[in-house]
């Protein structure tokens, strides 16, 4: 059996196992959860080392028949198909590595109903890995929605004061998007009589343009809500703010990446023609997201909300890079997904540690923390710099590639993006100043304990990865090279075809709508 099956289902088995452990023995539960997630992480590292980045096609494939749908012209086999390629490898490994850290980070704040927490956490891991690994549309949708339920419980049970509002809002927003996607997905499957992703890629051009367009947008809507792209971002701030620290880390680290991954996989790879036609829409939304998110973050008085809003801004970069549709743009965006997971994950961990000590997240309740918690301050400054894109750290590489890629496609939006980098530095450094430096005005803050070994241990691996990506990004970029090069070439071909098609349509036949992307790409 393929390694991927183990990676996907080991967490699920773990969840079932943990469900049978005694609920009162928290120590045992934590150890079990840590054991399972570590085992998956080891598997993830094995996967990493055995993955050949120069191959464009999915590797470690695993295919079994699941069921057959007899509708429309014939029988469509729905298959249980897993595989990993350059688009998904980084996210898969990130998920496996982040999980033990999330388990460890739960020590401080998950004190009641610990068993349930770990069960949901592991179910969620299975769901997220399934999303990244599945190569069948139905299977993808299956995991996509399954991964919602655990977060719904995690935010709703262990969240902050407005947790119920936040969790229901999160769930309904996401489900609204995904149900529209479901209709589009069904239309795609029946239109082409296949639900095999690798088979569908390259065949979507066979559909009429109007059908392609609405299916593309039904997918894009679901992913845009998940990312979230600008007009749909309101759920994120609430969900992030109310989620427990571990939930926030997971949300920022992996769950939001499901949206950007979807945009890349189902927006660009599946519908290159549509992506080319409508890339400007996403460039605008991405660039606006960067700036708007930055302004939102500046206006926040709640530190956690500030980090949440910064997510909107950072993910705007990813969207910008993806829909620049140039090779550096896409590769930078994929790297930036990981970067955001690391930096924002670290930021949420740091906010959580501070909250556990002070029980507040209001910026005006802090100030001068650096004097009582010097180690904490070091990590905080490091993370902020990584998030703001200091050269030598991870954020810089990703943002630089994205902006370079965007500049090729559209200098204007690249320029808007650059302002976002500046704003990002402004609000992050402002927050740093207000939290760490200045006078220690609040008496309650004078007796804060510095971070302990466990907390350092949680953050250290992430910091190492931040530096590694900053100094030696090729370790990671090489793994994605094969798939992303092929993808970028395809998109480029599509763009050339479209331009030529329009030219032909205008000059030779004078038939404005007769030339379709589909016909041209064949």
């Amino acid at each position: 059996m393929s390694m991927l099956v183990w990676i996907t289902f080991l967490p699920l088995l773990g969840a079932i196992g943990i469900a049978f452990l005694p609920a009162t023995n928290t120590r045992l539960l934590r150890q079990a959860a840590l054991g399972v997630t570590s085992l998956v992480a080891v598997l993830g590292l094995f996967l990493w080392s055995s993955f050949d980045g120069s191959i464009a096609e999915p590797q470690h494939g695993f295919v079994r028949d699941w069921f057959t749908v007899a509708l429309g012209a014939g029988d469509v086999p729905i298959r249980f198909a897993l595989g990993v390629d350059g688009i998904s490898i980084l996210l898969v490994v990130l998920t496996t590595i982040l999980m033990p850290i999330v388990v460890l980070s739960s020590h401080g704040h998950i004190e009641h109903r610990v068993k349930e927490f770990f069960v949901w956490l592991l179910v969620m891991q299975a769901g997220m890995l399934g999303v990244f690994l599945s190569l069948d549309l139905v299977l993808f949708y299956f995991f996509w929605e399954v991964s919602l339920v655990p977060l719904y419980f995690i935010v709703g049970i262990w969240g902050g004061e407005r947790r119920l509002y936040a969790t229901i809002k999160f769930f309904l927003y996401t489900v609204a998007g995904s149900l529209v996607m479901l209709v589009g997905m069904i239309a795609l499957i029946y239109g082409l009589q296949s639900s095999d992703l690798m088979d569908l890629i390259g065949r979507t051009g066979e559909l009429p343009v109007a059908t392609q367009t609405w299916i593309f947008f039904s997918f894009a809507l679901a992913f845009a809500i998940k990312v979230p792209v600008l007009p749909f971002h309101t759920w994120l701030a609430d969900a992030h703010t109310e989620a427990p620290t571990s939930g926030s880390v997971l949300l920022a680290g992996v769950l939001l990446k499901m949206g950007t991954y979807g945009l890349l996989r189902f927006g660009i790879q599946l519908f290159p023609g549509m992506a080319v036609s409508y890339s400007s829409v996403f460039l605008v939304l991405g660039a606006l997201g960067i700036v708007y998110g930055a302004f939102l973050a500046m206006a926040q008085t709640d530190l956690k909300r500030l980090v949440a809003c910064s997510s909107v801004s950072h993910l705007g970069f990813v969207v910008l890079g993806l829909f620049a549709l140039t090779e550096p743009g896409i590769r930078g965006a994929v790297l930036q997904m990981v970067n955001h997971g690391l930096s924002t994950g670290l930021l949420f961990l740091l906010v959580g540690m501070l909250y556990e000590r002070t029980h507040t997240r209001m910026l005006d309740r802090f100030g001068g923390i650096a004097t009582v918690m010097p180690l904490y301050a070091i990590f905080f400054v490091f993370t902020v710099l990584s998030s703001a894109g200091l050269p030598g750290l991870n954020g810089f590489v990703g943002e630089y590639m994205i902006l370079a890629g965007t500049f090729e496609a559209s200098p204007l939006w690249a320029a808007v993006g650059v302002t976002g980098v500046i704003f990002g530095a402004v609000y992050l450094l402002m927050a740093t100043r207000r939290v760490l430096f200045g006078a220690l005005v609040h008496d309650a803050n004078k007796k804060l304990a510095d971070i302990n070994a466990r907390e350092i241990g949680i953050m250290l691996p992430l910091c190492v990865l931040c530096i590694w990506i900053g100094v030696q990004p090729n370790t990671f970029l090489d793994k994605t090279a094969g798939s992303l090069d092929a993808l970028a070439k395809r998109v480029e071909q599509e763009r050339i075809d479209q331009e030529r098609g329009q030219a032909i349509g205008r000059i030779e036949f004078d038939a404005p709508s007769a030339t379709t992307e589909g016909e041209e790409s064949r």
């Binding site: 007899a70 149900l179 479901l182 029946y190």
Partner: protein, 486 residues
């Protein structure tokens, strides 16, 4: 003359007919057997055995049809139809009845002396459902409907000392018999217009005369009443709430499944494609009313009743898709799958409510579930599973049901309808999630302590069975689709 008639009767009742009607006859014999067991004092202990035995034997006969390569097809002078689809429906009806019965054990504290009558009535109900689904003649359908409805009228009013139960019974009876009368008069009009009541005959007949159209409209209206579609859904919340909860489970799932089964399996070819938009709009309005109605309920039985209305709306969309030209077999399979998932989910959900009611006071208010996850994790977990299935979240049967339903719409080219339907089901998640919120995310209310009395073991088994089926329909659809492919 009379000898010839008798001989003809035997001729009609050939081998195929005996195979096709074996489950029905089993139920008939079983009900009598049950009553005999009740009358003879020494046999009283065997009543439960008689009930389960009857269901299991009938189930065996249905499975025999399901497993055979050659199905009986049209039998009894082309009035009754038996194939894999009707057999699968039959299995679902029988299992649904068995589950509802399992939940009814220990439910009636006050009226215990009448429990045998209750069981005998309940045992008769699946015969009506099976007759409805297999009916190929409007009169046979009518008889099936009455065979199902008459026991349900009585069962709805079975808590005779409680006014709401009797009221529910009277209400259900009046509106139900009104609908039956509409069905009959409609059939009579169709008969005057075409000279036949058999469905194959009607397919060939010219039904464009105003008499025939009026007749078909009346028939459709009575069916809409039975499946609780707008504008005939007003009775549902009152009746569902007032009836004893195990009966509500049977009522909500069985009647709906049987009527939709008949509608999709037998009637759909009769309906003109031009009517598809109207049916689609009715379906969407029903979904909207059901979901919005459920959103504002604080009583769980009422909420589930409205949720049932919304599900009927979804199925009506499938009917519209079938009318608009989607693959007929696809529409039938979608209905069947949706119904299978719904029957087990809703029976489980109502059953858990029955379980909690039986435990003490009338615990069907949403707030009475507060803190259930802590006090009774098993019940809360099962309830959460059923809610997610009703909401159509993957890994449950509800998701695949929804998937197949939308597939039919896409197949028929009704994309707009599918998208509106999809968005309406987001509203539905609003109230399903609220149940989970109350159970898992809010502390137990200190006003009313959680009831703790003996729970009958049958209810636990029934819940496990429902849960297993909900998961099986969600994860292993080929188990249920395979018999239909042949």
């Amino acid at each position: 003359m009379s000898q010839q008639t008798v001989a003809a009767a035997f001729e009609i009742f050939d081998d195929a007919a005996s195979v096709a009607t074996a489950p029905l006859l089993t139920i008939g014999v079983g009900v009598l057997l049950y009553l005999v067991c009740d009358i003879v004092p020494r046999l009283r202990a065997a009543r439960g055995l008689a009930f389960c035995g009857t269901i299991l034997v009938a189930l065996f006969f249905e499975l025999r049809i399901l497993g055979a390569d050659v199905v009986p097809g049209l039998v009894l002078d082309k009035t009754f139809h038996a194939d894999h689809t009707t057999a699968l429906f039959g299995c679902v009806f029988l299992l649904g009845t068995l589950l509802a019965w399992a939940y009814s054990v220990g439910y009636y504290h006050a009226s215990k002396p009448f429990k045998p009558e209750h069981d005998a009535l309940m045992l008769g109900a699946p015969a009506g459902m099976m007759l409805m689904v297999g009916a190929n003649d409007l009169i046979v359908f009518f008889i099936g409907l009455e065979l199902l409805s008459l026991p349900l009228y009585c069962l709805a009013a079975f808590k005779r000392s409680r006014i709401e139960s009797v009221e529910a019974g009277v209400k259900y009876f009046l509106l139900g018999s009104f609908a039956s009368a509409m069905l009959l008069y409609g059939s009579a009009l169709v008969y005057t217009a075409s000279g036949t009541l058999s469905i194959p005959g009607l397919l060939d007949a010219d039904l464009s005369s105003s008499t025939a159209v009026a007749g078909l409209a009346l028939i459709a209206a009575s069916l809409f009443f039975k499946v609780s579609v707008f504008p005939f859904h007003m009775w549902v919340p009152d009746v569902y709430q007032g009836s004893p909860t195990p009966v509500t489970a049977l009522m909500a799932t069985g009647t709906k499944a049987a009527a939709f089964g008949f509608l999709v399996a037998q009637v759909m070819p009769l309906l003109p494609p031009s009517g598809a938009p109207i049916v689609a709009v009715l379906g969407l309005v029903t979904m909207a009313l059901g979901n919005l109605g459920a959103l504002v309920q604080s009583d769980l039985k009422r909420m589930l009743a409205y949720s049932g209305v919304a599900h009927a709306g979804t199925l009506l969309l499938v009917v519209a898709g079938g009318m608009a030209g989607a693959d007929a077999a696809g529409a039938l399979n979608a209905t069947l799958y949706y119904m299978v998932a719904y029957v087990f989910t809703a029976t489980g959900a109502f059953g858990l409510l029955a379980l909690m009611e039986a435990d003490g006071a009338r615990f069907t208010k949403l707030d009475s579930l507060r803190g259930l996850a802590k006090s009774r994790p098993g019940v809360a977990g099962a309830m959460a599973l059923f809610m997610l299935s009703l909401g159509g979240i993957p890994a449950t049967g509800g998701f695949l049901g929804k998937w197949f339903a939308f597939s039919v719409l896409v197949d028929a080219g009704m994309i707009g309808t599918a998208i509106i339907g999809a968005l309406l089901s987001v509203v539905a998640l609003g109230y399903y999630l609220r149940v989970i919120v109350v159970m898992y995310m809010q502390p137990a209310s200190d006003v009313e302590p959680a009831p703790t009395t003996q729970r009958p073991m049958t209810a636990g088994i029934a819940t496990i069975v429902c849960g297993v089926f909900v998961l099986a329909t969600g994860l292993l659809p080929s188990l249920f689709l395979a018999p239909l492919a042949g």
